[in-house]
Symmetry: C2
Subunit: 192 residues, 2 copies
DNA sequence: GTCTATACGTTGATAGAC
DNA sequence: GTCTATCAACGTATAGAC
């Protein structure tokens, strides 16, 4: 039931794993909580499915970082995709952040397998760029963490971003400009 | 009672605002939970005091970014201080991250006052550097967010960092090297 | 499939002995 | 100040009518 998953994503993001109640998820989805348990059996299972559901978009963004490409277009595409994902699905990013924050008890396996494999490939790609003299000698994982942290900051710490913007929401136009700024900072950090 | 505050910081970081129980905090502090309520009255109040307690170290790190200084030493000192704080008090950073993640219901006021004032001063400082041609033309808040996000990533997403390091803890020596890498990335991102 | 009513466990908070 | 015992509120989950 898509409407429950969507409500759950928002409620888990706003109240945390434990703070989210099935009653509230049901209310925001517009049905009694018995239905939530009918479709997802347990709250724990619903939580897992919310996380898994986010993974699709996450992997799509990850796939924009193509190992075979040149550094400038590869990094530009990846940072842009991650920034757009933070804009498009802020709640999903926040659920994920909460999960990792508390030690990733549910998603530990994914981190150690799929993500680790993905990262190792990109680390080799970046090392190749350095050997070929295409970018400055940087620590590949330090660069990847900088990109993840910075791009996800706009989703995970959205409330802080808005407050420091004087309480005014960030418009689409402003966000587009911010994407360009982040891309420029990242590219320059590796000497491009 | 310092022992309770310290236990609470860790438990709130690991289980979240709602997931943390006074019973668990008490157990980790080595006393019955009635004592926790005796000293802090309510869990809510204890949570606020944990957040306030972190602010001291946070403000100390923030003060290393001196508006009057030159860009290179100022940014180097600030990034280093933030990285060292993430290493020294990871749980505090994580409690703070959880608070902002869920919309900063408790710390909203601080963000809009003290932090906003601090940031506005630094934005002007960075704008001054740009006008004087000392650094590249960057969006000051984009730069500050990049620094916050990247440095706090090592505390907030520590579990992920460790897993992607093959499950091996980061040694002090490795972390020192990582600080240098992050400083280099940040400095180069503004053209230094 | 949908919903109301309810059972059962957990947790924040306190009463009251020491 | 410290601790054990206890309670009231809340939240997950299900039974069972429709």
């Amino acid at each position: 039931m898509a409407v429950i998953l969507e409500a759950a994503e928002r409620v888990f993001a706003l109240y945390g794993h434990k703070g989210a109640t099935t009653e509230r998820i049901a209310r925001e989805a517009g049905l009694p909580k018995a239905n939530v348990h009918y479709y997802f059996k347990t709250k724990e299972n619903l939580y897992r499915q919310v996380l898994a559901h986010i993974l699709d978009d996450w992997m799509a963004a990850a796939s924009t970082f193509e190992p075979g490409h040149e550094p400038e277009p590869a990094l530009r595409a990846y940072v842009t995709a991650k920034m757009e994902l933070s804009r498009k699905r802020p709640y999903g990013s926040r659920v994920w952040a909460g999960e990792v924050l508390s030690g990733a008890p549910v998603m530990e396996k994914f981190l150690g397998t799929t993500l680790k494999t993905w990262m190792d490939e990109r680390v080799r790609t970046i090392e190749g760029w350095i050997e070929d003299g295409k970018i400055r000698a940087v620590d590949p994982s330090a660069l990847l963490f900088l990109i993840w942290a910075t791009t996800q900051h706009y989703a995970d710490f959205e409330r802080q971003v808005v407050i420091l913007n004087g309480g005014k929401k960030i418009t689409d136009k402003e966000y587009q400009a911010r994407i360009d700024e982040v891309v420029a900072l990242v590219l320059r950090s590796v000497g491009l």
